[in-house]
Symmetry: C2
Subunit: 531 residues, 2 copies
């Protein structure tokens, strides 16, 4: 039995911040922000009052369907600030009615058949890391959440083709554990890695480990198997194809509205043994972003190519608050990456970057690595912006937003977003607000900027404060030409901006596809398109 997840914090129940830890932290925050925070005690789920289930589970399905409070509460939200703030306050105004845990194709089919016939809505659920309200129950007469956690096996490894057939409900760490003994890895490490699943990654077009070239899970899907209310959809395993529009690309990103992904053949990697890393300091944000552009346009395809703006570079690596930090890393299972890091550093220096030769960290897989990586040596990727629940349980309001934009619009895009979001933050949080940016992924034609913001909220008003800033961020991004999401998905949260962004006829096409595959409209209504 897996250790139980916290229903309100990011982590296991055993890792939840305690009241003692929170008291200390409340004092810190009170001092920092010149306020006085009185921590509400960690909630006890036994005190939660959930609306009784509105639907009766058929006898044949009771063996794998649950209706207890913990199951229903945990599966009624994702991991967004708003989700966890509500959960912390024991607010479950629209809980799912039943949580089904099918373990076989037959059980899964039985759930969809039941729900189709009774007009019960179905929310597919991986590990609940959605930050876009993708798994929150819709308004409906009855909702079943379909937890895929029993579809958790690696079924086959094809070492010659470097591919594996993997069930959709497997969590990131378990997947890596199964691939490791054969010397393989998927190397898909979203921030949510620990508590997210392969099926969720595919359904949401998750962004992964690689900062350049193959950035999304999309590129690693060789074929996919999905159950729709109309039956099975399964594509052929192919390394490449030009036969009509890609069936897989219609599934990837469908966010549970077309079917339930049960397994996929995934392209896997040999575990890297050669590595090279450099943390390069730039005098300004503009100089650093130019260097990153040159590196990605030279098609060196580094595995990591991150840039932290002066705010993040100070926070994460102790730089002086004006400097920008670029981290470039290469990795390979086959070949020394010494030459590639050299080429990247050369381009970075030409753009004004500073790193000593001796600081370039090179691991040729033969004993001691050389160098410390430069400024990156001091950098710990502490999952900046992943709020574990300590601060937000004390009134801090925090969120991130991410997008992608072509280079020709970039500096202006950044200026506009910072101005508009900065204004909203000041308005709502005064001087406690902070806004920063990094690039998580970079393309020859543009970056994928990732913004983090937080401010000290007014206890009890956190959600409305968040909503005001969120509106400003989402509108600014789409007004300025970006995508409403580069890898966090649309869910229910981003619908207003997504509806502005996608071609109207594409939405009509997607609705037509949905009517074909899900004629009763039971699957995840409200996500991506209206029922």
């Amino acid at each position: 039995m897996a250790p139980r997840r916290s229903f309100w914090a990011w982590g296991l129940e055993s890792e939840e911040p305690t009241d003692a830890q929170r008291a200390v932290r409340a004092e810190d925050l009170s001092k920092r922000y010149g306020t006085s925070i009185t921590p509400i005690p960690v909630p006890d789920l036994a005190d939660a009052e959930l609306r009784p289930p509105r639907v009766q589970v058929p006898d044949a399905l009771t063996g794998f369907c649950r209706t207890d409070t913990w199951e229903r509460a945990f599966h009624s939200h994702g991991a967004h600030f708003t989700d966890r703030t509500n959960a912390f306050n024991l607010r479950f105004p629209n809980p799912t009615d039943v949580v089904a845990h099918p373990g076989t194709d037959a059980e899964l089919t039985a759930v969809l058949d039941w729900c189709s016939s009774k007009d019960v809505k179905v929310v597919p659920f991986g590990a609940g890391s959605s930050v876009v309200w993708g798994v929150n129950p819709p308004e409906a007469d009855a909702v079943v959440t379909l937890a895929m956690d029993r579809f958790d096996q690696v079924l086959e490894i094809d070492a010659l083709s470097r591919a594996a057939r993997v069930q959709a409900g497997i969590y990131g760490p378990a997947l890596e554990d199964r691939l490791r003994p054969g010397g393989f890895t998927l190397r898909h490490f979203p921030q949510s890695f620990r508590f997210s699943t392969l099926g969720g990654w595919i359904a949401t077009r998750s962004g992964g480990h690689y900062a350049t070239n193959h950035t999304h899970i999309d590129d690693f899907v060789e074929s996919v198997r999905m159950l729709t209310p109309r039956g099975w959809w399964e594509s052929r395993r192919l390394p490449g194809s030009g036969a009509g529009p890609s069936p897989d690309r219609l599934v990837i990103g469908s966010e549970g509205v077309l079917g339930v992904i049960t397994e996929a053949w995934m392209r896997i990697q040999r575990r890297p043994t050669f590595r090279a890393t450099a943390g390069i300091v730039f005098p300004s944000w503009a100089a650093g972003t130019t260097a990153v552009r040159h590196i990605v346009q030279a098609k060196l395809w580094p595995a990591n190519c991150r840039i932290l703006d002066p705010v993040e570079a100070r926070r994460a690596a102790g730089l002086d608050g004006t400097q920008t930090l670029v981290i470039v890393s290469f990795e390979s299972a086959e070949l020394s990456q010494r030459h590639l890091i050299g080429a990247a550093v050369e381009l970075a220096r030409a753009a004004g970057g500073v790193i000593a030769d001796a600081d370039i960290a090179i691991d040729d897989g033969q004993g001691e690595p050389t160098g410390r990586g430069g400024a990156v040596g001091a950098w710990r990727d502490a999952f900046i912006g992943v709020d574990l629940g300590l601060d937000t349980s004390l009134g801090l309001v925090a969120d991130t937003f991410e997008t992608a934009i072509t280079w020709d619009r970039w500096p202006e895009f950044d200026a506009v977003v910072r101005e508009r979001v900065g204004a909203a933050l000041s308005e709502v949080f005064g001087s406690t607000a902070e806004l920063s940016c990094r690039f998580t992924h970079v393309y020859p034609d543009g970056p994928a900027p990732y913004y983090t913001w937080f401010g000290m909220g007014k206890q009890g008003s956190e959600l409305s404060q968040w909503a005001e800033v969120k509106h400003a961020t989402a509108e600014a991004v789409v007004d300025a030409g970006g995508t409403i999401t580069h890898h966090h998905a649309v869910g229910r949260m981003h619908r207003p901006q997504y509806d502005r962004q996608r071609p109207e006829l594409f939405a009509e096409a997607l609705r037509a596809v949905k009517r074909t595959l899900d004629p009763n409209g039971i699957l995840n209504p409200g996500v991506l398109i209206d029922p």
Copy 2:
């Protein structure tokens, strides 16, 4: 005015094989195959009898619509062996009725409106290089072929993002001519490059110059604009996105059944100045394919990574008929490729490949290149398998087929295909038949093999002889697990096998999309899906 294309040969009218050339060649072929070929004279299109147009062009559209014999004959077929054999014999049993050449959005809209209202079928036409009957008129009461040749401009170049806004009807060479002065190139060079268009490449998921990594046009499309009978479909310019299933990926490969692509923002390249090439000889086909697998799985991402089987290596590079030739090339606008070619050669040698250090050709953009490329120095990519019309106008039957398959199935796949296709070839052509293979593109999880075959046909029976072998090739490929096409498209030719290959529910979804965008079903009926 552009020089006129040949209506039966691959090339311009001025480049057609003459009767004198054909007489000499007929003697050669007669000797080689121990037969006696009497050349039918080059046809005169004035002798063709075309069914009169079955539809009257509205007055408002007559300015850009043509109904003369040359226009209708030329636009009633693609460039496949069967197409050109029919044309050579002046067989146009189902000619298009009208050829429209709209030059503006308004003219294009007017054509679709007219055809929608009168139930006239529409076949979008780029440059007529389809080898899968993608532009042949369907059985219908009336057909308009929509020639996009007046949409031929590069509208905008964004040098910072390395992207260009390009109209769909531009031919390959004209596109490169427009990009060259700015130092750019699309570097999409299918065999059909000279007589194919950007819109055609996107509609058919064309395979391009790059043998690894970004192999299809798909990866270079930043956004696309398409006119459907319901109106415009236009996606936002984005370097990457995770907002729902990709709208572009539904357009890419839609082969004219959903709409008419009018323009796209394309990711372009700086023109390469650094190059490195090696032609490496292997003692066997198996050794060579293993080397190619190691190179692509090491993710060196060479621009070219081709392998010719012993038959092709003998024909193209004069090897001994047992040896296999691997050609690996790297290129860059920014960086010397010396180190990368070194790494690739090292992997190739470890797999049994032979090339002298001095033979590796390296061009560092600073004067004289070094080395001659090894065996590749003798290799001229004479577009093996592109039949220009000389031999096939004399009774030679020739075709190619291409696919992709995962490595775990590869050697067996090749054996099965060669056995089944070889049997069909022997049956039909006896000892005059030849079958060979190369890889045009290679992926970490499998190769894209490209087979070429020909045999001396019986004059007058060429089409039925072709059909017998084609059936064997297509069935063998799909039975053995491959895709019916890696980059030639489905068209009308590959429907039987495509229908077996794609998920049935995907076909239903695609039909639903088509009903949404093209409610009267006027666009390219019979391609990909049934009306």
